[in-house]
């Protein structure tokens, strides 16, 4: 029995010791206690206890404010300690939605590592600090964002016309009014959301006339109409989170929507990116991604070398520089569209998801930059990626000289079934007729505005010998267009949408003139390896091509 008494004694002492240890760990050694306690010397100090922001409708109980006390409603910020600083002004009070809706992370946690969520089994780690504004994408989506060139032009104009002398914009500029206080001009950083008067220019002119000496006289001057339009484009895009707008504008310049859908609009070759910013890094393959196993790193590396990060990916290396990669990473991180109740949806999301409002501006340049640029080149020069047939140079002047607007529009609308060109007018998430028209006019401008000569002939006028045409085709055309016109280096000629919409004139003229700068020679002229083709020979080739048209 003595042994048992000893067993009881030692075990009980052990239990006591462990209980004391647990007590100390929980009540004295917690990070948030130490952090709050450190603030004591400040005036008044902080009441040391757990804090949280609870929003039942969002299932949020965010205890971030146990460490970041300064961000809780009604709490004192402490200047000396960075963690206890107040929340920067971003248009939302943290108490309204909590913290994790925007920043992600594990709000219910009370330790730093758990709360920041950068550990296994938490699918939504906190967004990295440089990309904090990507959290706006949890609920918001900027509407009608133009391409980057337009945004940059707008900014340049703002600088050149010295608007910042009076106005604050994206954290820069503005002057305090002497005397009665206030700013000389309103902060323009959010006018895209709040709105501004349409006749601002006339109003400014009037004031200038009436104003005594001062900024009105010194800074404000005449602005040309086109510049005013460019400024309007910029101002409409000012809705807060300016870096994110730039990033989205870049996305609308590189043609990403040609292969990827975002918000239901785009191509189907690549995965849908609508919620790529919410992907769980625990489910990604990081074997070829250096650095931390974070989603931001994965996305950035993927932009650098897609097929290395995702073996078997068809996405080519785009040759982006580091700043572009940073912006694109920023934008794709913001593609979140979190599952928040509709009552919390901001206007822009309702407009986009319920009313089909476009997220991209619908001018030709932005549309082309959003949908076409990746394949056809930013200037319509065509692109060549390894392992893929080359994409045609649709900005080629010779092409534009024979292609009518109707033909180009029909191509955009109907695509090339069986090939890489989607039917943008017919597919799910494609383009609207007015948008297609904008794209067509943009394409024409890219080629220098060349327009075809009016064609008086009927669409089908060729009467050639298709057998002779077959012989000639095999001799001169098949090496690029394939023996049955299925397309190799050159486009597919047996494509039904092409054949239905192309006139015989188009086909004949293309063969005759060729397309400068591409492999398509002008066959009406001789070359070093073949003689010139006569008009009848060209027509027989056209007749042969026509035999592939269905219904013939």
């Amino acid at each position: 029995m003595k042994a048992n008494k000893l067993l009881l004694l030692l075990s009980s002492l052990g239990v006591l010791a462990l209980l004391v240890g647990a007590m100390v760990q929980e009540n004295f050694l917690k990070e948030w206690r130490r952090l709050q306690g450190a603030a004591r010397p400040e005036a008044g100090g902080i009441d040391v206890r757990l804090r949280q922001i609870v929003v039942p409708a969002l299932h949020v109980a965010d205890r971030c404010v146990s460490c970041h006390v300064g961000m809780a409603p009604g709490e004192q910020a402490v200047a000396a300690i960075p963690a206890l600083a107040p929340h920067p002004s971003v248009g939302h009070d943290p108490a309204t939605f909590g913290c994790t809706v925007c920043h992600a992370g594990q709000g219910r946690a009370t330790d730093k590592a758990d709360a920041h969520g950068t550990l296994p089994f938490w699918p939504q780690p906190m967004l990295p600090k440089p990309f904090s504004y990507a959290g706006c994408g949890s609920c918001h989506t900027h509407l009608r964002v133009p391409n980057l060139a337009q945004v940059r032009l707008g900014r340049t104009l703002v600088e050149r016309y010295d608007c910042l002398a009076c106005h604050r914009l994206d954290g820069r500029g503005g002057t305090l009014r002497p005397g009665d206080g206030g700013m000389e001009g309103p902060d323009l950083s959010r006018v895209g959301a709040t709105g501004y008067r349409a006749d601002w220019y006339q109003d400014h002119l009037l004031r200038r006339v009436k104003a005594p000496a001062g900024p009105w006289r010194a800074s404000f001057g005449g602005i040309s109409k086109s510049d005013r339009e460019a400024l309007d484009v910029l101002l409409s895009s000012r809705v807060g989170a300016p870096g994110l707008v730039e990033a989205k504008a870049l996305f609308h310049s590189l043609g990403c929507r040609g292969c990827h859908k975002v918000g239901g609009v785009g191509g189907d070759d690549g995965p849908d990116l609508t919620r790529v910013g919410e992907r769980d890094p625990g489910r990604l393959d990081f074997t070829h991604v250096p650095g931390d196993a974070t989603l931001a790193d994965w996305l950035a590396e993927h932009f650098r070398a897609p097929a290395t990060v995702v073996p078997g990916s068809k996405m080519p290396i785009l040759g982006l520089d580091e700043e572009q990669i940073r912006l694109l990473t920023f934008y794709t991180l913001s593609l979140r569209r979190s599952d928040v109740p509709e009552a919390f949806w901001p206007k822009d999301r309702i407009q986009a998801e319920r009313f089909g409002e476009r997220e991209f501006a619908t001018d030709g340049a932005t549309l082309y930059g959003s949908f076409c640029a990746a394949c056809h080149g930013t200037s319509g020069q065509g692109m060549r990626y390894p392992g893929m047939p080359p994409f045609p140079a649709i900005g080629n002047p010779d092409f534009l000289a024979v292609a009518s607007d109707a033909f180009i529009a029909a191509t955009v609308r109907g695509g090339r079934p069986g090939r890489r060109m989607p039917a943008w007018g017919k597919k799910d998430g494609g383009l609207r007729p007015d948008e297609i028209a904008q794209v067509v006019s943009r394409v024409r401008r890219l080629g220098g505005g060349a327009t075809p000569v009016e064609d008086r002939k009927p669409p089908r006028w060729v009467q050639g010998d298709s057998k002779e045409g077959a012989r000639l085709f095999t001799a001169y055309c098949a090496s690029c267009h394939g023996p049955k016109g299925e397309g190799k280096e050159g486009p597919a000629l047996n494509n039904q949408v092409l054949l239905v919409n192309a006139t015989d004139t188009y086909l004949a003229e293309t063969i005759r003139r060729g397309r400068r700068g591409t492999e398509m020679e002008g066959f009406a002229n001789p070359s070093t390896v073949r003689p010139a083709l006569a008009g009848t020979e060209i027509e027989s080739i056209v007749a042969h091509v026509r035999t592939w048209e269905a219904g013939k």
């Binding site: 029995m1 048992n4 075990s11 929980e26 219910r108 330790d111 089994f121 393959d285």
Partner: protein
């Protein structure tokens, strides 16, 4: 006015008031403090919580090497899970998604919540291990022999209930680990379909489907399953376990205490000097009062008095083991957190999806044949275990570790055979595959009949029968069979835990697992 007489009602009232402390104590604790043998006996006998114990305990039963305190460990672990479980019930909410969040809250903001939850999880594991070890101890000391046969069966029921408690609790956190482990478990419950499908009778007779439906309340793990498992885990199974435990302890009493060798009294040596010989004065008399009982009492008049009062000897032993169990659970709880993965997501299967560790050996067998691994082999094992007391009616070696013909050398040999056969069969299957790899068109029933599980069972059974004939003893066969199954169980569990990766493919280490 004349002075109040000393025995007036008022005096009596005041006197009563004064005497309340002493009077209250005497009314609550009858029989006085346990300072003599007699008061020690009445203390145990007269207390509703303690009187499940016998008043006297045999010294042999109190030796550490007799039982290693495993039974007490198991019940101590149960009590710990009970108390911590009730505390957790203050915050846990048994609804999908909310359950997960409530556990996160317990972990992060409930005072002592993380600690209590960890203790609960570790105590549950300790209980399963203790129950298995206790079963092994009981077997190896042949404590299942007459008159204790039925108690062995009660013990098996307790084993099943313990596993059931652990299994039902496993789902409650509602994380990926829980969700997919129970999906597997429910699909194993539907394993009879393997046979009914092969016979084409599932449409008319589908016990597998019925079992799964009753378990889950639906065809998938969801809110119905969670509330059923919660009900089983917090109320039904604990009550069943408590009831079975009460019967188990009562039977220990009525069977004459824990098992002892026949010559235990002699082997113990002289009793301690302060032991008052209890039964010398009335050697033929037992201390049972009113009950008519068959079976032997601790000691009636033969040999030296080798029993000691339960109070304090037995209770110090029980308390010591209880506190040791508590110490182990607390230490584990401080060092290792109970796991909690991501929120359960029915669209993202865990790969590999593993059952709780005590079922991984079965899952390994299930990967070869769902029916055999899920239903067949467990039934065979349960049946064999249950039949042991009725097939081994020898008397040699009762109460001795590895008692009986063959003894420890036989056990050692059985360990080698048990591990060796399992290792061999597993190695062959892992390296070369099994029947369908060689004969793609083979009927499923052939695989159900001939697979690593049945092969191992046949090997163990054959070995056991050989032992019976070699030693001319059923006990020898039982020793061999039990040991083989124990070793096979351990090896299969180890393989299932450490060497099975995604798609249940064999990998030497988790570093070799392919990334999704």
């Amino acid at each position: 006015m004349s002075p109040t007489p000393l025995d007036s009602a008022l005096h009596r009232f005041l006197r009563n008031l004064r005497e309340i402390p002493e009077h209250f104590r005497a009314s609550a604790v009858r029989g006085g403090l346990p300072s003599t043998d007699r008061t020690r006996s009445t203390f145990v006998f007269g207390n509703v919580f303690l009187h499940l114990h016998a008043v006297r305990a045999h010294r042999w039963s109190l030796r550490w090497s007799t039982t290693w305190g495993l039974g007490v460990t198991a019940i101590a672990a149960f009590l710990i899970t009970l108390v911590t479980g009730v505390l957790l019930m203050l915050y846990y909410k048994p609804y999908p998604d909310v359950a997960y969040l409530s556990i996160k809250d317990i972990h992060f903001v409930v005072p002592t919540g993380r600690f209590i939850r960890n203790i609960h999880r570790w105590a549950a594991n300790v209980m399963v291990v203790a129950v298995l070890l206790h079963m092994a101890r009981t077997f190896y000391t042949a404590a299942y022999r007459a008159p204790r046969e039925f108690n062995w069966l009660i013990g098996m029921a307790l084993l099943v209930t313990t596993l059931g408690l652990s299994f039902t609790g496993y789902l409650l956190p509602w994380d990926q680990l829980a969700y997919w482990a129970i999906t597997i478990g429910a699909n194993i419950a539907a394993a009879p379909r393997e046979v009914t499908d092969a016979l084409g009778m599932t449409e008319f007779f589908d016990p597998g489907g019925l079992q799964k439906l009753l378990l889950l309340g639906s065809d998938q793990v969801g809110e119905e399953a969670l509330i059923r498992f919660y009900l089983l885990h917090v109320m039904v199974l604990p009550l069943v376990l408590a009831g079975l435990a009460a019967v188990h302890f009562w039977r220990i009493r009525k069977d004459g205490g824990l098992v002892r060798p026949a010559d235990a009294d002699r082997r113990l040596g002289p009793p301690p000097p302060d032991t008052y010989p209890v039964f010398t004065e009335a050697p033929a008399k037992t201390y049972h009062l009113a009950a008519i009982v068959r079976g032997r009492t601790p000691a009636v008049g033969d040999g030296p008095e080798q029993t000691v009062p339960s109070m304090p000897h037995l209770f110090y032993a029980e308390a010591g083991v209880f506190m040791l169990t508590t110490l182990v659970c607390l230490a584990l709880a401080l060092v290792a957190d109970a796991p909690l993965k991501e929120l359960a997501n029915s669209a993202v299967p865990e790969n590999p999806a593993k059952a709780p560790w005590y079922f991984l050996g079965l899952q390994e067998l299930v990967s070869y044949s769902a029916f055999m691994g899920g239903i067949g082999i467990p039934t065979i094992v349960m049946l064999s275990l249950g039949l042991i007391p009725y097939l081994d009616r020898e008397e040699k070696g009762t109460g001795e570790w590895f008692g009986g013909p063959g003894g420890w050398p036989l056990t050692l040999q059985a360990i080698v055979v048990g591990f060796g056969a399992a290792l061999l069969v597993e190695a062959v299957v892992i390296r070369f595959g099994w029947l369908r790899e060689w004969f793609p068109a083979i009927p499923q029933l052939v695989i159900t009949a001939v697979n690593p599980g049945t092969l191992l069972t046949a090997i163990y059974g054959g070995y056991s029968i050989w032992l019976v004939r070699r030693y001319d003893s059923t006990r020898a066969g039982a020793l061999g069979l039990f040991t083989c199954f124990l070793c096979g169980f351990i090896l299969l569990t180890v393989i299932g835990t450490y060497f099975r990766g995604p798609n249940w493919t064999f990998y030497w280490s988790p570093a070799d697992w392919p990334v999704h």
